[in-house]
């Protein structure tokens, strides 16, 4: 019964994510006006900011899951951290690709070794390393412990990435939403802020849908392993 209700909840979440995503796409690509300075290319912002915020959220959950695993040694916390890391890597990589596509027409280059871009690339490498670590160490408990430590260290890159535009002279613009000195509506006009907020919600819903599927997969894989182990020790 709980399995069936879990599946129903996931379907509902997936449907809601799809609905809000379609609204976000319509608002961002058709309804919102073009930016006065950058023109239509600024519409990439409706992907770029939601992607990095989703990546931050995902890596925050890696941090939470890793801390809980090191503290309590419960497999569920490790599954949460592992699931969030896998999806986090996807959203960090997408952020870099979108930024590169946006950078070409606005900065004239696909890539530059700017502080924020470099730190984001390091962020991606840390969590690619996290996923590699899990598959390279055979002893699962050791792999989970090493990955949890790396997950906690990797999370510390987020404040560095966020503050890099203030601490170093960079080509990347200051934050649009999470500014320490201004509220988002003081920084972006409402006709551009509204589609951005809708897309942030759409990405968050999509993220939790993907996470629920990936977490369920982790649970099933654990159950299969446990049953196989019980069978081999019985025979």
């Amino acid at each position: 019964m709980p399995q069936r209700s879990g599946r129903k909840g996931r379907s509902l979440l997936g449907t809601l994510a799809l609905l809000v995503t379609l609204i976000g796409l319509y608002w961002g690509l058709i309804h919102a006006p073009a930016d006065a300075f950058q023109g239509d290319v600024q519409r990439i912002m409706y992907l770029h900011i939601p992607s990095i915020l989703t990546a931050y959220l995902s890596i925050f959950l890696v941090f939470v899951g890793s801390c809980l695993y090191l503290w309590k040694r419960e497999k569920r916390d490790d599954i949460l951290a592992y699931s969030a890391a896998e999806i986090g890597v996807l959203f960090i990589a997408l952020t870099i690709v979108e930024g590169s596509i946006w950078g070409r027409p606005t900065w004239g280059v696909w890539w530059t070794w700017d502080a924020r871009l470099t730190l984001t690339a390091v962020f991606l490498l840390i969590f690619l390393g996290y996923l590699m670590l899990r598959s390279l160490i055979e002893d699962e408990s050791r792999a989970a412990t090493a990955a949890a430590v790396l997950g906690i260290v990797g999370f510390l890159d987020i404040p560095l990435i966020h503050m890099s535009v203030y601490w170093w002279r960079t080509l990347h613009q200051p934050p649009s939403i999470l500014r320490p000195d201004k509220a988002p509506w003081e920084n972006i006009p409402w006709p551009l802020l509204t589609p951005l907020l809708i897309n942030i919600v759409a990405f968050a819903l999509l993220y939790f849908y993907l996470l629920s599927l990936r977490f369920r997969l982790g649970e099933l894989q654990e159950e299969i392993k446990a049953r196989k182990l019980a069978r081999s020790s019985a025979s």
Binding site: L29, G39, L47, L90, V97, L210, I224
Partner: protein, 51 residues
Amino acid sequence: MDAWGYVMLAYGVVWGAILLYLLSLKRRLRRAESDLALLQAEEETGANEEK
């Protein structure tokens, strides 16, 4: 490439990658569910034979 070309490239890459990931996740989930069902069926058969 004009502005809309870059916008379409970005949206295509992002939604293409998310869709591919979602499909691979669903495929892995289906495979795990069928593996588990198979294991459960084998365990039940084994238990019945023991009786």
